[in-house]
């Protein structure tokens, strides 16, 4: 009786959509919502779609670019620095970096639209004008850079939080011992901290890959995938196929097939990470019980 609402909600808005998406991928459903099964038609169409290779490259560059630069590396730098300085100041900086994550996406996008504005009223172009240079249309000139930076600033906070709590969990004795031996800060990080937070590092890499593969909210708001599909990633392409106001086609069947492929790509990536990072070892019971 207590469980019923929970099960009902999960079933209706989580389990059922998974099944419906998979089945819908085999129909050519459009705005009339009819289940006309077309076999693997949508998947053949995908292999002929001249945009798909471009979208795929965009997706890979965006996912691994953001991951490598921000979600892992920059998150790690933030975690290392904010745990090395005074506790209160470190906490302040971590809270500051967490703020974008809790900002409504439209407001976050509005801030970036102002910073990157092609007119001289935006921040970057305003500074250029002040230096006597001509304004630049940042978003259409550097679409990849824009989506990587804007998503990366939000993405870094996740790694920052997890790494910071992992670093704080390292027994202080190790660090003091190293310091007594005359280790510099960099040596401490390199030889003590990094080996000890290996698992969180791998976890964030794997988890954030999946997150980035499927995130398109901010791209939709800031570049809209443009100019000319230059910053359109796989998930956004699926969204546009289904709901784009411009195309007006509402190709739900094709879009569902695209979404299914994305889930498959995500699954393959998780299995690869599972093997590569030997996560099974992490799940294994410790050899020596310490309690």
């Amino acid at each position: 009786m207590f469980l019923l609402p929970g099960i009902l909600l999960i079933f209706l808005f989580f389990l059922a959509p998974v099944v419906i998406t998979a089945v819908m991928g085999f129909t050519n459903m459009d705005y009339r919502f009819q289940w006309n099964f077309v076999g693997f038609g949508n998947f053949f169409r995908m292999s002929d779609d001249f945009l798909v290779p471009k979208i795929l490259v965009n997706t890979l560059v965006y996912t691994f670019g953001t991951l490598a630069i921000f979600n892992v590396t920059f998150g790690l730098i933030l975690a290392l620095l904010t745990t090395s300085i005074s506790e209160r100041v470190g906490l302040f900086f971590r809270a500051l970096w967490l703020l974008p994550r809790f900002t409504p996406p439209v407001v976050y996008a509005a801030i970036w639209l102002w910073i990157l504005s092609p007119t001289r009223n935006g921040l970057l172009n305003g500074l250029r004008v002040a230096m006597g240079l001509n304004p630049i249309a940042w978003i259409s000139e550097y679409p990849w850079g824009v989506i990587i930076v804007t998503n990366g600033i939000i993405g870094a906070s996740m790694g920052m939080l997890i790494f910071a709590s992992a670093i704080k969990a390292i027994p202080r004795d190790y660090l003091w011992a190293a310091r007594v031996d005359g280790a510099s800060w960099f040596q401490e990080v390199r030889h003590i901290v990094l080996p000890l937070i290996r698992w969180p590092l791998m976890f964030i890499t794997a988890y954030q890959t999946l997150s980035l593969l499927t995130s398109y909210e901010y791209i939709l708001l800031i570049t809209q995938g443009g100019p000319f599909h230059a910053s359109e990633v796989w998930s956004l392409y699926a969204y546009n196929k289904a709901f784009s106001a411009y195309a007006g086609t509402y190709e739900f069947g094709y879009a569902a097939a695209l979404a299914t492929v994305l889930v498959l790509i995500g699954t393959v990536a998780s299995i690869a990470y599972w093997k590569m990072f030997r996560f099974r070892e992490m799940m294994a019971p410790p050899r020596i019980e310490v309690s």
């Binding site: 469980l3 919502f33 439209v106 509005a110 997150s211 969204y239």
Partner: protein
């Protein structure tokens, strides 16, 4: 480590090195955080000025940007207060459903044995692998079938449904931490199972409830993608749809209006954030918010 000779003054040098390192750490953090600080500062400055000279320098003070409070910028747009109320309704609805549903389900999963228990637990984890965003198309179909398109209730149910697995896991952890003895003694004293849950267990998991409630409220308040996809009717707009319309109509022109409405939207978030950021940071480590 290389052997070091301690000569007079080497301690001094070491201290200076430490200080330089520390200062450069602060400098790096400040420089890296500058875009965030400037961006949020703009919300305040931009909302009360006309266009800024050289991007940053305000010219004059004005409250003209705030005229949306009594006069919609476009006749087709709804009254801002109605929009504000819708946003609150959405956030409160998500919070209420998510808290009630996941707390009761978590209690059962944590405390009772029944066939299929482990299956339920496993399925909530597996479902987590399916990002909500790829399910958007199917969700659209379901809401349409249920006749909930263009209604805030549809968005509330979808958002709550997607957050419930997360809520169950967090709350299960809190219930698991309460010793059996406490519950036992209540049962032995003659309380029914429901009374134990209501009078003994619930007060003990209050921190957990507070945590998931804050999360649900923030998620509901900030909701964007489901809203603009499922709700087109201006009467059901929230502040997200409102700002989305401003971006759509005045993409690169009316920055004052954009900043003012954004600040209006952000205000509760900022307040909430300042009050609860410690709580949030604790939970984020365990749970994960939607997208990234």
């Amino acid at each position: 480590m290389a052997q070091r000779k301690f000569t007079p003054g080497s301690l001094e040098r070491e201290r200076r090195k430490q200080r330089i390192l520390r200062v450069s750490m602060y400098l790096f953090l400040i420089a890296a955080s500058l875009p965030i600080v400037i961006g949020y500062l703009w919300l305040f400055v931009g909302a009360f000025t006309g266009n800024l000279v050289y991007g940053l320098v305000p010219q004059s003070f004005t409250v003209e940007n705030w005229s949306f409070l009594w006069d919609p910028p476009s006749p087709a747009w709804p009254d801002i207060w109605r929009t504000f109320f819708n946003t609150f309704f959405l956030a409160a609805g998500v919070t209420l459903i998510m808290v009630v549903v996941s707390t009761s389900a978590a209690y059962v999963v944590s405390r009772m044995y029944f066939p299929g228990r482990s299956m339920i637990l496993a399925s909530t984890l597996i479902l987590h692998a399916f990002p909500a965003i790829t399910l958007l198309i199917a969700l659209y179909y379901i809401l349409r079938t249920l006749g909930l398109l263009d209604s805030l209730w549809g968005v509330i149910l979808v958002r709550a449904g997607l957050m419930v697995p997360f809520g169950i896991w967090v709350m299960k952890g809190f219930f698991d931490d309460i010793p059996w003895d406490i519950e036992m003694s209540a049962l032995i004293d003659g309380a029914t199972r429901f009374q134990t849950f209501w009078k003994v267990m619930l007060p003990l998991v209050k921190p957990g409830i507070a945590a998931i409630a804050v999360f649900a409220f923030m998620a509901g308040w900030a909701e964007y993608i489901f809203l603009v996809t499922f709700v087109r009717d201006p009467n059901s707009w929230t502040l997200s749809s409102y700002i989305n319309a401003i971006i759509g109509n005045y993409r690169f022109t009316n920055y004052g209006l954009l900043a003012a409405v954004s600040l209006f939207y952000m205000f509760p978030v900022l307040l909430f954030f300042l009050l609860t950021q410690k709580l949030l940071m604790k939970v984020t480590v365990g749970g994960i918010k939607g997208g990234r």
